[in-house]
């Protein structure tokens, strides 16, 4: 196989049909950019799960009277802490629970102290809150963060327990939102991919039609299938690769000029993980691979179906 011959055929083919080539490249780029965006969301979800699963706790809030009886600070003097029968029984049960990793008792006084720390910047909120209005609680860390609802079910309604709060509930909703964004991006990417597919197929057909004399002669003089069809196939693949490169550049652009700015707050607060350039770089080979596979496959099928050998 003479490479120079094939390459010159590919270049001629792409140049002969510039508008179509541009359309094909742009559609591919958008489709792959969206695919890449979806993959980045997936990476972000993974990273966030790691961040949050460390921190997720189930909080078992104690009733008002149990909270008062087991306070660590009463009228300025040291209180007894978790000492009543109800409180210690709960603690023992939690500590012996196979699903539980660790249990920390937080008294009303400790909760109030933490509250003051969290809302130090909002004095008017601090003025409103009193130690008595905050419940004591057990901060429970589960072995498997995905199974926190078991703890919730077990301890809700036990004597001395007011409510059981599960941070995972909120996170589930949050991750649900992210998953939705991911699915939407993938869906649009898929629609764009169909458009790209049809464009690739059409471009190859037009290309094969404009070159039917050449192809006819090639067939007559005994050129192999590879020689007659590889130029068309490569035309599609070259356009696909250019599309993938543009798509990747688009992702870098979107990251630098949009995401980094819009998400600067949550990222610096540690709520959301930053999207590194490394993430984009790691996603790009997949875009390139998809581009090559899709364009080559479409090209091959088109040639099989529409272009006689």
């Amino acid at each position: 196989m003479r490479a120079s011959f094939v390459i010159s055929e590919v270049i001629t083919g792409l140049r002969r049909n510039v508008t179509m080539t541009v359309a094909m490249i742009l559609t591919t780029a958008i489709s792959l950019g969206l695919l890449g965006g979806g993959l980045l969301v997936v990476r972000m979800i993974d990273k966030m799960s790691v961040i949050y699963n460390d921190k997720v706790e189930v909080t078992v809030y104690l009733t008002k009277d149990v909270s008062a009886e087991n306070d660590t600070l009463v009228n300025g003097k040291a209180g007894p802490g978790c000492s009543t029968q109800e409180c210690t029984a709960l603690r023992t049960q939690l500590e012996n629970d196979p699903a539980v990793e660790s249990v920390v008792f937080e008294s009303r006084a400790q909760a109030y102290k933490r509250f003051q720390e969290i809302f130090a910047a909002q004095p008017e909120l601090l003025k409103l809150a009193r130690q008595e209005s905050l419940p004591a609680s057990f901060q429970v860390k589960t072995k498997d963060p995905n199974r926190s609802d078991v703890i919730k079910q077990t301890y809700s309604g036990k004597p001395g327990v007011d409510t059981v709060g599960d941070q995972a509930d909120f996170l589930k909703r949050f991750f649900g939102l992210l998953n939705g964004i991911r699915n939407a991006t993938f869906a649009i990417a898929l629609i764009q991919a169909v458009a790209a597919l049809l464009l690739i197929s059409n471009t190859i057909q037009v290309s094969a039609f404009t070159r039917r004399t050449e192809v006819g002669i090639m067939r007559l003089v005994g050129a192999t299938r590879w020689y007659t069809q590889l130029p068309f196939l490569l035309e599609a693949v070259v356009a696909g690769v250019v599309g993938a490169i543009l798509g990747t550049l688009g992702l870098f652009g979107a990251k630098a000029w949009f995401l980094d700015k819009v998400l600067a707050g949550p990222i610096s607060a540690g709520i959301m993980p930053p999207i590194d350039s490394l993430d984009v770089i790691l996603v790009s080979p997949w875009l390139l691979l998809s581009a090559i596979v899709i364009s080559a496959f479409t090209g091959y099928v088109t040639l099989r179906l529409y272009v006689r050998h």
Partner: protein, 229 residues
């Protein structure tokens, strides 16, 4: 070189067979005219040899190939041993004379040094030395057909199929083309030419195979066009 055994070809679109139980044998180095009116099966005959079509019945042998039964991937080998010339020349308008001839070698993967050597040789053989860098539209019809013949012959095929090669040419030019085909025939290449041209067939006195409605109705070793009518 060519052998058709009880070959029939029926197209889906037609009830009457394009070829009907045809038996023809052509030896190596022969010069054969294939004549008959339009629709008599000449084109189907040639297409079967190139495996552009597969016979509905019978066997087709070309050189050492069992054409009807060979694997698809071996078809290029068959076609590399056959040169083809057509009424409409089929030259590439955006390539020069030399490039048109070289194209036939490039696409079957011949090395560049070989191409550089044999293209001028074949252009000289067909009488086009000095016109290597012309574009096809700068040439006369006869010259264009010479380019097409050069392209068909450059890979030294075992046989040359010519489908109405003089159909677009005036009588004098046609005569020149026939001389060229004769010269190629003298190198040992089998030539099979489908034609309507009475005067050429009559003046050459070569073997004539006449088809009518898909059947061979005449096969004369030294025939003329109009015998028996």
């Amino acid at each position: 070189m060519i052998r058709l055994e009880h070959v029939s070809k029926t197209y889906k679109s037609s009830a009457r067979p394009a070829l009907d139980n045809v038996d023809v044998e052509v030896d190596k180095g022969e010069f054969v005219f294939l004549i008959g009116p339009s629709g008599s099966g000449k084109s189907t005959f040639l297409r079967l040899l190139l495996r552009e079509e597969i016979p509905s019945k019978g066997r087709v042998y070309v050189a050492n190939f069992d054409v009807a039964r060979m694997a698809r991937r071996r078809v290029p080998r068959l076609r590399q041993s056959i040169g083809c010339v057509f009424q409409d020349f089929r030259l590439l308008a955006n390539k020069t004379v030399a490039e048109n001839v070289a194209f036939a070698l490039e696409v079957i993967g011949k090395p560049r040094p070989t191409i550089k050597k044999v293209v001028p040789e074949v252009l000289e053989l067909v009488g086009l030395d000095g016109k290597a860098n012309r574009m096809p539209n700068e040439l006369s019809g006869g010259e264009q057909q010479r380019v097409a013949i050069a392209r068909a012959f450059v890979n030294r095929p075992l046989m040359l199929l010519a489908d109405e090669p003089t159909g677009n040419l005036d009588p004098d030019t046609s005569q020149d083309i026939m001389l060229l085909l004769e010269r190629i025939n003298r190198t040992g290449t089998t030539v099979l030419m489908a034609t309507h041209d009475h005067s050429i067939v009559d003046s050459m006195r070569r073997r004539v195979v006449e088809l009518s409605l898909g059947r061979v109705i005449r096969d004369d070793a030294r025939g003329v066009y109009g015998v028996g009518r």
